[in-house]
């Protein structure tokens, strides 16, 4: 990917530039931005106006303004338009948990929420967990306890673990398993993911 990055054209790199604060002339405006708002990457569209809407999404403490189709899910908006690809889509039908994000303090499947329903909600994704360079205790524990195998379910497991600890800072084994039970791991790394969440609880 080194070469790709150098060309400076990938949407991901482009968005990274934005979130770094470098909002430049390349941004296509869809309206007036508030002081804390960020314009997301526009989508190519042919949808009729009635199927489209401009929404403001508060993700990881930042306000993004973007135009979506009514049929776009939150997961799609996060990944395709905000470049927050840490949220994965494993089944796109609310059964695997790879797309788990925290909305208003609760973990939900972002593939099963429409982006247009999310106006005003506080959304936290895997990218918003670390405080600067400092990883969240759940992330740190996932590294130390070998939480990820292929890593595709990892963001979701971590978000469910985080959602649990927000409600219950000292969960027991059964509570952790239950809290993660909406997150499949086909690598079968369940023992590790549970260990990691328990370790994160102890580390806090």
């Amino acid at each position: 990917m080194e070469e790709e990055k150098k060309k400076g054209v990938s949407r991901r790199a482009f968005l990274k530039g934005i979130s770094g604060g470098a909002v430049g002339a390349a941004v296509v405006s869809t309206g007036l931005l508030g002081p804390n708002e960020v314009e997301a990457y526009p989508r190519e569209t042919v949808a009729p106006a009635r199927g489209r809407k401009t929404v403001s999404l508060k993700v990881n403490g930042r306000l993004y303004r973007l135009e979506v189709e009514h049929r776009h899910t939150l997961a799609e908006a996060l990944r395709d338009q905000l470049g927050l690809t840490g949220t994965k889509i494993g089944c796109n039908r609310g059964e695997c948990g790879a797309c788990t994000v925290i909305v208003n303090g609760r973990n939900v499947y972002s593939c099963s929420q429409l982006a247009v329903w999310m106006e005003g909600a506080e959304i936290l994704t895997i990218e918003g967990l670390a405080q600067g360079e400092k990883l969240d205790p759940v992330q740190q524990a996932f590294i130390e306890h070998d939480g990820p195998q292929c890593g595709f379910c990892t963001s979701g497991q971590i978000m469910s673990g985080k959602a649990l600890l927000l409600k219950n800072p000292n969960p027991n084994l059964a509570e952790v398993k239950r809290a993660l039970s909406g997150n499949l791991c086909r690598c079968g790394n369940y023992n590790r993911e549970v260990e990691a969440v328990l370790a994160a609880a102890r580390a806090r």
Binding site: A47, P48, R50, G51, K53, E69, H70, R71, T73, N92, R93, G94, E95, G97, T100, R106, N107, V108, Y109, C111, S112, Q113, L114, V116, W117, S160, A163, R178, A179, S181, G182
Partner: protein, 327 residues
């Protein structure tokens, strides 16, 4: 998903008038609350509405209140909120447990009580756009000749779906009522009367008209000396529907049963109230023999399809186990 427009309505009245207006315009509109279940149907193109009427934008439809002999639960209250509510846990015996057994944490965090009782079937033939089954306007219930290991043993025909809700059997066992808003105002009916057998209408699971919505569930306090038991048997312990579930409430004095509610899930197209078994139990001493007899009575008339006969033995075990546990 087919392209559609989402309409955020601000009041129950607006929801109803919007549904009415769209219907008059010949548009298909569906009501959405939590969304997980409906979006899955839409992604599979089993549901292809032109409009979604989003109830989540209505303020004040999510609440758990106690007043005058029971609970009032707003239709948009999530399953997690019900599961975690201290008063519900203490007073409604089995409702918290049933809510906690539904699907997965993420679904419980977004799924609502109103949406839960209005779910469409999870029959694999119904859920696949490839099968134009009876319930989708076709001629055949594919479960009859197909793989029917999870289908109905009671109340089936001409369609053999089972009702997927975890909450519904518990709510029926608690004598809950449902409040419905429609063009002619609001009405409250016994939840038991809300569900529809396929022999009455095989295209829907409940009595809701296309421009009606559920606004509230009312649950009376159980009678004194009542105990409840909820158990759900399934292959996976998370995100799986009941093979058979049972919600039982028994009011007893000493060892004698005064009144009982035994409601089975996973066995019929509606939450299946074992009325005859309940009547049999009234006035009886609750022991191995009476409960065994009650379980036989509960499953009287059960007619298995080729793959689901095992459900009869399972349902009997659960009925017996639940009445013993609730007494």
């Amino acid at each position: 998903m087919k392209s559609f427009e989402n309409i955020d309505v601000k009041s129950v009245k607006e929801a109803v008038t919007t549904l009415q207006r769209l219907r008059q315009q010949g548009k298909t509109a569906l009501v959405v609350s939590g969304g997980s279940e409906l979006l899955q149907l839409m992604k599979d193109r089993v549901a292809t509405p032109d409009y979604l009427v989003n109830l989540k934008s209505i303020p004040g439809l999510s609440y758990i209140k106690e007043e005058k002999g029971g609970f009032r639960i707003g239709a948009l209250t999530t399953l997690s909120e019900i599961e975690e509510n201290r008063a519900v846990q203490e007073k409604l015996l089995i409702l918290s447990a049933a809510a906690g057994e539904a699907a997965s944490p993420q679904i419980r965090n977004s799924g609502t009580i109103g949406g839960n009782i209005c779910q469409r079937p999870f029959c694999w033939y119904f859920r696949s756009a490839s099968f134009t089954c009876l319930r989708k306007g076709g001629q055949v219930c594919y479960a009859v000749a197909g793989d029917n290991r999870f289908h109905a043993i009671l109340g089936g025909g001409p369609s053999y779906i089972v009702h997927p809700s975890d909450l519904a059997p518990a709510l029926v066992a608690l004598d809950a009522r449902v409040r419905i808003a429609g063009p002619s105002g609001e009405k409250t009916i016994l939840l038991e009367k809300f569900f529809v057998l396929p022999r009455v209408d095989f295209k829907k699971e409940n009595i809701l008209a296309p421009d009606e919505i559920v606004t509230e569930i009312q649950v009376p306090y159980p009678k004194p000396q009542s105990k409840g038991f909820y158990h759900k048997v399934r292959e996976r312990l998370a995100w799986d529907h009941a093979i058979v579930s049972v919600a039982t409430v028994v009011q007893s004095r000493g060892e004698i049963c005064q009144d009982a509610r035994v409601v089975l899930g996973g066995v019929a197209p509606i939450p299946w109230r074992a009325t005859k078994a309940e009547a049999f139990l009234r006035g009886k001493r609750i022991d191995e023999a009476t409960t065994e007899k009650a379980s036989e009575i509960a499953l009287e008339g059960a007619t298995p399809l080729k793959d689901n006969g095992y459900k009869i033995a399972l349902a009997k075990s659960l009925v017996q186990r639940s009445v013993l546990a609730a007494a």
